[in-house]
Amino acid sequence: MSDVISTDVVIIGAGPCGLFAIFELGLLDIKCHVIDILDRAGGQCAELYPEKPIYDIPALPLVTGADLTTRLMEQAKPFKPEFHFNQMVTSLEKRGENDFHLTTDGGLEFQCKVVVIAAGGGSFQPKKPPIPGIEAYEGASVYYSVKKMEALRGKDILIIGGGDSALDWTNNLQPIAKSLTLLHRRDEFRAAPDSVGKMRALVEAGKMQLKIGQVTGLKGEGGVLAAATVKGADGASFDIACNAMLPFFGLTMKLGPVANWGLNLTENLVSVDTAKFETNVPGIFAVGDINTYAGKLKLILSGFHEAALMAQQAFRYINPGERLLFQYTTSSTNLQKKLGVA
């Protein structure tokens, strides 16, 4: 077990609202660690719509999800946030007044005074295709991500999908697989042309197979897969023999462990007050899409406002008894020093 990371605030979620929370807290000299399940910052802006234009960010008539993320990262940079990616917060425990303890599925442990949940639609998790009986094979034969390549050595592998994950793993696993089949619903791929080219060359060389169709059922025993039944483009069914199957259908958002932290929820959203955006547990705040209150709008700009007000109360918890002086970045030398511009 690693050492416990001690900090003022842990922000759960590195989407736009989590990133702006770093800035607002930073102006008040509050230090943040940020945890996210994805491998990079941006949340939905990075995962769901990096290239799509957003038109309702104040003063930015048009900005893409990726660009907005880059700008927020730049804005947060002076405050030296520390990011922990590919980590899902699995437990959050209150051990005392302003003493919270968090653990992640990657084995990290945090101790902090304030927790900010900025987890958007919840944690991104792989989509599980609703193939009848698939649950029985999960773990032993069906994998939604590759944790250890070695576990797949010598297997008859079936990869499903047409995006980058499917094509990258096809090309990476082919050399160690006993056999490998890529299955996709059409003979066109969203993945990078380079990896599609590599895959086609492997097919050409007879080193793997490409099949067009969709899985309708699974065959096997005792959790071990023997074959997948596929409906081809012409409507005819056939079997693909395999003992490992990797479906890559993108990610979906699930509330996940947040539901188990003793917070008041309303329809799977975290209830907060509208003065401090604090949950029913003092010291735990929720900002952005994951919270709810009367009049809530799921807009990035609303999350920015929520982060600013949250920071005021977080300051009081972290610096009990200290007076909080309200200052503007336009005129305060103090704030400008923190931003590295004065």
């Binding site: 609703p130 047409g162 619903r185 059409r186 993108g250």
Partner: protein, 106 residues
């Protein structure tokens, strides 16, 4: 105004009034049609508003656009008449449209 009927997996039907300019997905969400999740809110970024267009309406609804075709890779049990309902604009021509909602959007 165009009446749009959403047929659930179990055969039950909900008919909603679609307003020209809105999408079929928005019509479903506004009328609380179960099974149209629309996680991304209409950005053609999630494939959770997948529907099957009734065969007799397929021509009037028109073909999929390339972005939608890509996004349908994330849907389950895609058929010839599969569409993402956020990419179908309601118009008077579609008055009487019938679409079936899949068992699960997943």
């Amino acid at each position: 105004m165009a009446k749009i009927t959403f047929i659930q997996h179990n055969g039950s039907e909900i008919t909603a009034n679609g307003v020209a300019g809105m999408t079929v997905m928005e019509t479903a969400v506004k009328n609380q049609v179960p099974g149209i999740d629309a996680d991304c809110g209409g950005a053609c970024a999630c494939a959770t508003c997948h529907v099957y267009v009734a065969p007799e309406w397929k021509d009037k609804v028109g073909p999929r656009n390339p972005m939608e075709e890509d996004m349908l890779d994330f849907a389950f049990d895609v058929r010839d008449n599969s569409r993402l309902s956020c990419q179908i604009k309601v118009s008077d021509v579609l008055d009487g449209l019938r679409v079936t909602v899949p068992e699960k959007q997943f």
